[in-house]
Symmetry: C2
Subunit: 178 residues, 2 copies
């Protein structure tokens, strides 16, 4: 679907900000997915390529952590990207349990394409706003994200190290909850 989400607040008052945010977020994701599909990638594929671009040699396990995905999910993701020659698995020489994941040259080319796509996407999405408004929006969203602990994708290793259980802050909520 797309916009199953709500707007339960009574109409009229500007109480539908959360709803708008969900809507726009879904629309943005969907548009982005359209664009990546044109070069044969799912958004998940793109996420993997992006991460491997900035952190080459990552193991599947930490990739899973950073994506907020489960390890078995990563297996099929990498399988698929490897079949298409975009990613390669290299057995770690120091710990032969895990792989070091790398982008191939083709993978790096795709990464560059992806950056272009992201730029276009950003431009298209923000087209209805003035430069000033864009800055404003960026700040507001960043503040929101911080306020809700939606930080960079790093900290997951930490989470993992630390509270094997005990997640009082309900943190990034992932996993949990089921």
């Amino acid at each position: 679907m797309y916009s199953e989400d709500m707007d339960l607040a009574t109409p009229g008052r500007p109480r539908r900000t959360a709803f708008l945010l969900s809507q726009l977020g879904a629309a943005a994701s969907s548009r982005f997915a359209d664009r990546t599909r044109e070069i044969g990638l799912t958004p998940s594929d793109a996420g993997v390529i992006r991460l491997l671009g900035r952190a080459p040699g990552l193991s599947q396990r930490s990739l899973a952590d950073r994506l907020g995905a489960v390890p078995s999910r990563v297996v099929s993701l990498i399988d698929s990207l490897q079949e298409r020659g975009l990613v390669e698995r290299v057995r770690s020489s120091t710990d032969r349990r895990n792989y070091e994941l790398h982008l191939t040259d083709a993978g790096k080319r795709v990464l560059r394409e992806l950056r272009g796509i992201a730029e276009q996407h950003e431009a298209e999405l923000l087209a209805p706003l003035t430069d000033e408004q864009i800055t404003q929006l960026g700040e507001l969203l960043a503040q929101l994200a911080n306020g809700h602990g939606l930080d960079r994708d790093l900290h997951r290793d930490v989470v993992r190290q630390a509270g094997r259980d005990a997640g009082p802050d309900g943190g990034p909520d992932r996993a949990r909850k089921a």
Copy 2:
């Protein structure tokens, strides 16, 4: 998943606004889903109840149009809500092909709960911002939504009337983007 989406722009510059929007939108949707789950509803259920609250007597077909869903999907949605005694199907006396859908008293109670949930949700989501910032954000998001034609949920009937076909890009998924 959750945040499969991108942040492909080079780090540093505030070029990740689209990414932030996707992230926050997904987070908002997910939080809302958590809350509705607590009263035994999926976000889709909540959407149906909301629409039937403001437009009682709707047919399944136009409900489908407004939700952006396919008719068969609506069948199971209504089946489920009817089994739980929240919605009832009444054969239209003027056109016995379709039903008039109504909330039962229990359904109306759930709708009220849902409004409370939406308010809490809104408050929690926007907690990191000042009142002034909330107003700003609301305006920016509204402007974005307008700019991208994410209007109210009505206009789908129009879409339906108009371009019955005309899909040159062969776009396999999305029911024609609205």
